[in-house]
């Protein structure tokens, strides 16, 4: 911003601009762990995570399991999402990445492609059996290696104001066609009210919807990557939402703004396509409507289908820079498969576990406070989680996600052709891969 920078001398300003690109390098030097290289004896591990309350869960390990083997884990709280990926990569360049990192599933190929994640296949024991196949497959990238242990998942669901659906005489849509009809019907009955909004500020939502439709954005054949971001399935999703925005059946403003909170809280928007973590968001966004919402499976593309996509979710990975990969892998497996650890994760951090057995035990036997009216919330959620479609992430998801925000943001604003925005997303992603030297076929 102009005013604070005005005080600076010009040269400093320019240097700061340049230094901004180097800032992450400096972070690498501060944020890493220094360990003794002794293989036996006490081991101390550093863990980068953004999960709130993780320090309390790690305490369980440090005082129990870890104490026996003299493995101490220290949590270093991080910012979530894309920025952490960049930070890990920069730290890795300096050879100073922490032993353990939290990584979203779609970031795993990027991290593996930068050789930042170690193969922990032989250290995680029978962890595979604890997870749904579709979830586990994301941590292997379709290879024989295992690059992470799944922690939480975000199966997508449909949330709606049960009271207002009744008031307006709407039925819960089970197909996307019905969803569109519901949106139009609502517009007729209450022109100031929207069923929902198409938001372009979270790419994960669109990726999840495409995944449900059967899209495979990145696949490999031999030594070549195939990029299918504008494949038929994704086109169908883009055109569907683009059509609704264009005809004005739904809103086009972004989520997570004060205006959006208000719309949810006052019944100006009466539904939200979201994931299992929605109760947490709704608690802060729409506190006045507690107990008035209900959750249902995501609408389907055809009536005989039953699949969902995922939005969010993350895993615990061990870096190649770690000097104690075995110990780190054992901790990663414990954290995400041990009953006590998972209970603590649910209680302290409010995550929805990837481990199938944990999805129906402990904290998940009663519905979340916000949904106290829906007693079977977590039983339904566990059923929906089983229907998650397989995902197909590639080595530059960050580029695709960034392009999505700009291209779809502009298209939503102008109510213009969504499939043109999708083509732009495909073109930019392919161009970036080619620039990096990947062999790409479209």
């Amino acid at each position: 911003m102009p005013n604070t920078k005005r005080r600076r001398l010009f040269v400093r300003g320019a240097a700061a601009t340049l230094a901004a690109t180097l800032g992450a390098t400096a972070l690498a030097a501060c944020g890493s762990s220094d360990e003794d290289s002794a293989e036996s004896g006490p081991v101390s591990l550093t863990y980068w995570t953004w999960t709130p309350g993780m320090d309390k869960v790690v305490d369980l390990w440090n005082k129990g399991e870890g104490k026996k083997d003299q493995i101490t884990v220290t949590v270093k709280k991080q910012a979530s999402g894309d920025t952490l990926v960049t930070k890990i990569l920069t730290a890795h360049k300096a050879g100073k990445a922490p032993d353990l990192v939290q990584a979203e599933y779609q970031a795993l190929p990027t991290l593996v492609s930068n050789d930042a994640l170690a193969d922990i296949g032989k250290n995680v024991g029978d962890a595979k059996s604890k997870f749904a196949d579709g979830v586990w497959q994301q941590t292997t990238l379709g290879t024989d290696a295992v690059y992470a242990v799944p922690q939480d998942i975000g199966p997508m669901m449909f949330y709606y104001r049960a009271d207002l659906f009744e008031k307006y005489g709407l039925t819960v849509p089970t197909t996307w066609e019905q969803f569109a009809a519901t949106a139009r019907a609502l517009k007729e009955k209450a022109p100031d009210t929207d069923l929902t909004t198409f938001s372009a500020n979270d790419s994960g939502l669109f990726a999840g919807l495409a995944q449900q439709a059967g899209a495979k954005w990145w696949t490999t054949s031999g030594d070549k990557w195939n990029v299918g971001i504008n494949d038929a399935a994704t086109k169908k999703v883009a055109d569907f939402w683009g059509g609704l925005v264009k005809e004005g059946a739904i809103d086009n403003q972004p989520m997570y703004t004060p205006a959006w909170n208000k719309a949810l809280n006052t019944g100006k928007q009466i539904a939200w396509v979201s994931a299992v973590w929605a109760p947490g968001t709704l608690t802060t966004a729409a506190p006045d409507t507690k107990g008035k919402w209900a959750m249902a499976p995501l609408p389907q593309w055809s009536a005989d289908e039953n699949v969902t996509g995922s939005w969010g979710g993350s895993s615990t990975a061990v870096t190649t820079d770690s000097e104690h990969k075995d110990a780190a892998a054992r901790f990663a497996a414990w954290l995400n498969t041990d009953g006590d650890a998972l209970n603590a994760l649910a209680k302290e951090s409010g995550i929805y576990p990837a481990s199938t057995s944990a999805q129906l035990s402990g904290a998940f036997t009663t519905p979340p406070d916000y949904f106290s009216n829906q007693a079977d919330f977590y039983t339904t959620a566990a059923k929906i989680a089983k229907t998650t479609a397989p995902s197909a992430w590639g080595p530059n998801v960050n580029v695709a996600y960034t392009t999505f925000k700009d291209a779809f943001g502009a298209a939503a604003k102008d109510k213009s052709d969504f499939s043109a925005a999708l083509d732009k997303m495909q073109a930019d992603t392919v161009a970036d891969m080619k620039k990096q030297g990947f062999e790409v076929s479209e």
Binding site: P2, V11, A20, K262, N398
Partner: protein, 312 residues
């Protein structure tokens, strides 16, 4: 100079260098080295072989001018520069015009509550930019803004301030609100430094307050105006906080709205440090050329004016 003197100065010959050392060291470590590294990075790129999975699949290689040609052929950078130009065309004249006007008004003979007014106008400058942008952002959002509430009650039209042309006004407003006070203080201080005799002479000659302001005050604070203009240009070229803070509130601000935002996106969004480094070098160079070009032009005019005065 005596011999005794010369001998003594010989003993401290190294002193200037010793005094220079800390500054030189700091300059080398924290300015020259990062700039050099950024330059180096801007000529590099990553090269992937095969699927790019596993160790050794990724190497850093020489890119030549590739990152630079990419930056110049990418319309986003140029578009961003144009957007910032449009934004600057609103911010700089409005902010400096207001600052000058307010400074002149505060400097007028009979002003009541001057210290309070000065502080009130300066106060927004003390508010961190991100906070100011958030504050205004909330005021621009129709659903939560009290302004829109009032407009609606009065039955007046409610413009969408976060879209199209009004977006520029909305962004400029934040900068003007935050920056006017600072510039006003700079101009006001130099107004205060004008000797009272000058005004006395003007009054004796029968000059009105307006004439004094236009013919005496403004020409005499011209150096301050040049300085504030210079700072404002640099600040405008570096605009980042306001659009970045408003971005989540609207679809109209892209991640590459301003050139610096594009640098940030390439470095931290898409993870291409090399491309970001090349763009940072280009922006730094453009800033250098523009701001020093302006300073030289301003200096030349001053000299010309001075020689005219002399000729007269």
């Amino acid at each position: 100079m005596t011999t005794a003197h010369r001998r003594r100065s010989y003993g401290v010959k190294g002193a200037p260098y010793a005094f220079l050392l800390p500054a030189t060291l700091l300059f080398a470590l924290f300015f020259a080295l990062p700039i050099g590294y950024a330059l180096w990075l801007s000529f590099r790129k990553v090269h992937v072989s095969g699927l790019g999975l596993g160790s050794g699949a990724r190497r850093e290689v020489w890119a030549g001018l590739g990152n630079y040609t990419a930056a110049f052929t990418d319309s986003e950078l140029l578009d961003g520069a144009l957007r910032v130009l449009g934004y600057g065309c609103i911010v700089v004249p409005v902010m400096l015009g207001l600052a000058l006007l307010l400074a002149l008004m505060l400097d007028a003979d009979k002003v009541r509550l001057a210290p309070f007014t000065r502080l009130a106008i300066f106060l927004p400058y003390a508010i961190p930019g991100v906070v100011a942008a958030l504050l205004w952002g909330f005021l621009y959002l129709p659903d939560v803004s009290p302004f829109y509430f009032v407009l609606e009650k009065l039955g007046l039209p409610q413009p969408d301030l976060l879209d199209g042309g009004p977006l520029y006004l909305a962004l400029s407003n934040i900068a003007v609100w935050g920056g006017t006070g600072f510039n006003m203080i700079v101009i006001y201080t130099s107004l205060q430094a004008i000797p009272a005799e000058v005004y006395e002479a003007a009054k004796l000659d029968g000059a009105t307050p307006t004439q004094i302001a236009l013919r005496i005050k403004i020409p005499m604070v011209a150096p301050s105006l040049v300085l504030t203009f210079f700072f404002s240009i640099i600040a405008t070229l570096q605009v980042f906080n306001e659009p970045t803070t408003l971005k989540p509130l609207t679809n109209s601000v892209s991640t590459t709205w301003s050139p610096l935002m594009k640098v940030y996106r390439d470095a931290f969004g898409t993870g291409d440090l090399y491309q970001a480094a090349a763009e940072a070098v280009i922006i730094a160079f453009a800033t250098l050329v523009l701001s020093f070009g302006f300073l030289r032009a301003a200096n030349r005019r001053n000299k010309q004016d001075a020689s005219h005065e002399g000729a007269r």
